[in-house]
């Protein structure tokens, strides 16, 4: 990475960490046909210099790939097949609803740093990276970025993201699925606190055969609320009010509900081949990237 790129961490990533990210690449569990030739070896036979196999010639094949040596020795027409090298399309859907602007450190900053790291890795490997912010729909995007030179642009985009509006994952996924028919890796970074439910959004994406990743990020305040007394809880997204008398029993019930909700997302994802990742904002960010995501097979 150039010094210019490193200077464009914009506080999301520090240069030392960015250097460590250079060693990583994003791995997809599925075969995708890239738009452009990239640095990624594809199982599709293509036009790289690396020989893969032979097959019989059929009329219409490019004569440039005919194996002349075999023709000379055996008088038969064989075509030489070479490995195709393609790029990978990585889409990061970043939740920028108001609920993400919560916690210390904020969930929004956390997911933007994750997104920055993943984008950096993708760009470093000449993958095509698309970034989307979503709240009650797709609110902003930086689509089709490729090459290391665009790191700074990505960082600027991520830094400029602001949390606003309510959550509507289904609408956002629907819009994303319509705009991007190409397969690739799609990672949703969100708290999944969506009163409309998460299932419908995933359903839109599952139809597109994406390699889906869902990362749920919660803050410690949400995992272990430190509330007491008779309170009126106001939802920051829609100003919905909930009157509660905080007690040990109620807190226990809340935690049980939260665990059950996370477990339901995980089960839903597991059943449908979606990679579910859970993290709390008090988990060190670099640990997530360098250890956790590698263990889960997203990075190599």
């Amino acid at each position: 990475m150039t010094a210019e790129g490193r200077q464009h961490g914009n506080g999301l990533l520090d240069p030392e960490f960015m250097n460590r990210l250079d060693q990583l690449e994003i791995v997809s569990r599925k075969i995708f046909r890239g738009k452009m030739r990239g640095e990624r070896r594809s199982k599709r036979r293509g036009e790289s210099v690396e020989f893969a196999d032979h097959r019989n010639y059929v009329p219409g094949d490019d004569l440039r790939f005919l194996d002349w040596n075999i023709l000379a020795r055996l008088d038969r027409l064989f075509l030489k097949l070479f490995l195709e090298e393609e790029d990978l399309h990585i889409s990061l859907l970043i939740d920028v609803s108001k609920s993400m602007d919560w916690g210390e450190p904020g969930k929004s900053l956390y997911v933007r740093r994750v997104a920055a790291a993943l984008a950096h890795i993708g760009l470093s490997n000449f993958d095509r990276v698309s970034l989307y912010g979503f709240a009650d729909g797709l609110t902003c995007q930086l689509a089709g970025v490729r090459g290391r030179r665009r790191v700074s642009k990505v960082m600027e985009f991520l830094s400029a993201l602001e949390c606003d509006g309510g959550s509507n994952l289904a609408e956002a996924c629907k819009q994303f699925a319509i705009r991007h028919p190409q397969p690739g890796i799609v990672m949703i970074l969100s708290d999944f606190f969506d009163k409309g439910g998460f299932e419908q959004g995933f359903r839109y994406l599952l139809g597109r055969n994406f390699d889906l990743y869902a990362m749920q990020v919660l803050s410690p305040e949400e995992l272990e609320p430190e509330l007491a007394g008779d309170l009126q809880l106001r939802d920051v997204e829609d100003d919905d009010l909930a009157e509660v008398t905080i007690s040990r029993a109620l807190l226990n019930r809340y935690k049980r509900n939260l665990e059950a909700y996370c477990a339901s997302i995980k089960e839903y994802c597991t059943r449908r081949g979606i990679n579910y990742l859970f993290t709390s904002t008090d988990t060190p960010f670099d640990q997530i990237i360098l250890s956790y995501l590698r263990r889960r097979g997203l990075l190599r």
Binding site: R234, D235, Y254
Partner: protein, 683 residues
């Protein structure tokens, strides 16, 4: 627990509880706190909103605690008290009744005596450390179980040692003992050696009488030093159902000595009618059974016994005995031997001791009569018509006969000696009938003849005059008699008794002031009365001979009341007498050289056997035969001297205030509520 001011609770609770509950229904002013999403919180509180507000009330511990505090505070305002045993700080005298009626088993399975002991122990336990108590057990006699002591454990042990007796209940001796001991206590008090008057500043003793109130001698009780205002009656009795044998008679027929007649008087003192079998046993062999039906006894409280105690006097003539009565007459039967006759009531009631009665029967023997007369045609004709063994002597022969012929030791060999106009001092233990003469013993003097007097009074209820119309008797003259004060006049003339009866020294004397024959002016015998020609003269002779001889031979031996001493003659060859008690156990008497020993441990009913025994003393029976003890109805009021004691149930109870405990409980609950509120541990 009770409340001295119960309405205050309702008012205080009514004023405070509804507002508190209403406060919980009011909408709380809640602080607004932003959260990332109410999504999960709403799910969490969803259950709490179900069935509100009752759901809230159900699970709101704080509300319940606050209500509890309020209610406790309201209870405090109601002045709660509980009945507690008064704590005695002074000198106590515990008088424990151990008489027969205290053996009644009450509903809780404890006898009255056990209840009394338990109550006394509770009072002893509550004594102040400086308080002292003495224990006196009383029945027909009083026993100091423990002198004044401050050691509560020792007092309890002494109390437990009090045994049940079946004696009568008399309080006077116990009171005398209590007075003596309490007086000693004052004189030997803290200022020992000083001149302390009986009216000392020492605190007066409190006397607690643990009894069922059936005390015999309340009417004659003389209390001198004890303060009756400091006396308390602790009633330990409730049951009143009892049927008992109040008397029993087993006597041989006069005409047929081998035939035994057994009678029993049975009384029902309970409020319910009773029907049961009365069984007759002879030497433990069942002989007869009679069905007894008894009306209910008096259902109301016995006013006389509750005011003066006079009705408890068993022989008070003017006061009818309580309860309904039935006489049980068993069929006469042949019984020629000696043994024990028992009447047993098959009836379960409060008191067992009076359901059985015993009589010891001697073998039959014919009455031996000696007629001492110069010749009396009428007596010589009448007496052979009676079933007697008759011997006749002239006065000279009587006076000159050796003592061995007339007596066996001190006792006359004849059941009855009839003297016809012959006064003598040669008298042994036995029965004597003097016609126109007197026994020459102290206090008996025959005076001048009396003419022209009439018989104006007689006691026709006496057995001797039964069926004898005395008004038809005409006597020419009789002699003036001077008799001892204990003599009972059966026929009375204008200025002198005509027929009298008295006992002295184990002998019975029937003295008629006239003879059947008299001497005229020239000394010739003449008829003194035409009574001898009347048909009721043989009847009179029959009565007189039967009366004077029956108690000696034909009847059962005299029965002994519980607690009464029994005189036992020492057989010449025996140094000790062994008495076997009816319920096991034996006592050994060592009379020494005294010919007669007295055995006083007769506090249980039943048959006692003596070994070795003088003839006729092998066994003796102890029977309750007391209407006062059998009437187990508790007496609620006793008149002791001039004071009336109202019975308290159980120990003397006082109202002990409970508000400090409730207040402490309220403060503790308030503290818990505060902790819970601050920690928010529970809903």
């Amino acid at each position: 627990m009770s409340f001295l001011s119960g309405w205050t609770i309702a008012i205080a609770a009514g004023l405070t509880v509804p507002p508190l509950v209403a406060l919980y229904f009011l909408k709380l002013k809640r602080g607004i706190v932003p959260v990332s999403s109410t999504f999960l919180w709403k799910r969490a509180v969803q259950d709490l909103h179900v069935n509100a507000p009752f759901q809230r009330l159900r699970s709101n511990l704080l509300l319940f605690l606050q209500l509890l505090v309020l209610l406790l505070a309201a209870f405090v305002l109601g002045k709660p008290v509980r009945q507690a045993i008064q704590k005695h700080e002074d000198t106590l005298i515990l008088l424990i009744d151990q008489s027969a009626s205290m053996a009644v088993v009450e509903e809780d399975g404890r006898s009255r005596l056990e209840i009394a002991i338990d109550e006394a122990k509770r009072i002893v336990n509550r004594m102040d450390d400086k308080a002292r108590a003495m224990v006196i057990a009383f029945c027909d006699r009083a026993t100091v179980v423990s002198s004044f002591d401050t050691d509560r454990a020792a007092l309890e042990r002494k109390l437990e040692s009090i045994e049940q007796t079946e004696s009568l209940s008399r309080l006077s001796e116990a009171i005398a003992l209590a007075e003596a001991y309490s007086q000693n206590l004052i004189i030997a008090g803290a200022e020992a050696g000083a001149d302390i008057a009986p009216t000392s500043a020492a605190p007066p003793a409190t006397a607690l009488i643990f009894s069922d109130g059936r005390i015999h001698d309340l009417g004659t009780l003389n209390i001198q030093r004890l303060d009756t205002s400091n006396m308390q009656l602790v009633n330990v009795a409730e049951r009143s159902d009892n049927v008992g044998i109040t008397s029993m008679s087993a006597r041989r027929s006069y005409e047929q000595p081998d035939v035994l007649n057994v009678f029993a008087e049975v009384r029902n003192f309970g409020p319910e009618s009773a029907s049961f079998d009365a069984h007759l046993y002879v030497d433990d062999q069942h002989r007869d059974v009679q069905i007894v039906r008894l009306d209910p006894g008096s259902t109301e409280a016995d006013p006389a016994s509750e005011t003066t105690g006079a009705a408890l006097q068993p022989h008070e003539p003017d006061v009818p005995l309580p309860g309904s009565v039935a006489s049980v007459a068993f069929d006469p039967f042949d019984y020629g031997g000696s043994g024990v006759v028992e009447v047993r009531l098959e009836h379960r009631d409060a008191l067992e001791a009076d359901n059985r009665a015993w009589a010891v029967i001697d073998p039959p023997r014919h009455v031996k009569v000696l007629l001492v007369s110069e010749g009396n045609l009428f007596l010589e004709r009448v007496l052979p018509t009676l079933p007697l063994q008759i011997e006749v002597m002239t006065p000279d022969e009587y006076e000159s006969t050796d003592q061995e012929m007339l007596a066996d030791g001190d006792r006359s060999k004849y059941d009855l000696v009839i003297f016809d106009r012959h006064s003598t001092d040669r008298l042994y233990q036995g029965g004597y009938f003097f016609w126109g003469a007197v026994p020459l013993i102290d206090g008996v003097v025959m005076g001048d003849p009396i003419d022209d007097e009439i018989i104006f009074n007689w006691d026709d209820s006496h057995p001797v005059l039964r069926h004898v119309p005395v008004a038809n008797i005409e006597v020419y003259q009789w002699n003036r008699l001077e008799l001892p004060s204990e003599a009972e006049t059966l026929i009375e003339g204008e200025s002198s008794p005509v027929l009298s009866y008295f006992t002295r020294g184990g002998s019975q004397y029937l003295i008629c002031a006239f003879g059947l024959l008299a001497e005229d002016e020239v000394g010739q015998p003449m008829m003194n009365t035409f009574w001898v020609f009347k048909p009721h003269f043989p009847m009179f002779m029959y009565n007189a001979v039967a009366f004077l001889s029956s108690s000696l031979s034909a009847n059962a031996r005299m029965t002994t009341r519980p607690g009464d001493p029994v005189a036992l003659a020492r057989p010449p060859t025996a140094d000790t007498l062994t008495i076997r008690r009816p319920r096991g156990g034996r006592d050994v008497l060592v009379p020494g050289k005294v010919s007669t020993a007295h055995y006083a441990r007769t506090r249980r009913v039943g048959v006692y056997t003596v070994e070795p025994a003088a003839p006729g003393q092998e066994t003796f029976a102890v029977n309750l035969f007391s209407s006062a003890e059998s009437n187990v109805r508790p007496s609620s009021v006793l008149t002791v001297g001039t004071s009336t004691l109202e019975a308290t149930k159980g120990s003397q109870l006082i109202n002990e205030p409970l508000w400090p405990h409730l207040l402490i409980a309220a403060l503790v609950i308030l503290l818990i509520e505060w902790v819970i509120y601050n920690k928010r541990i529970f809903v």
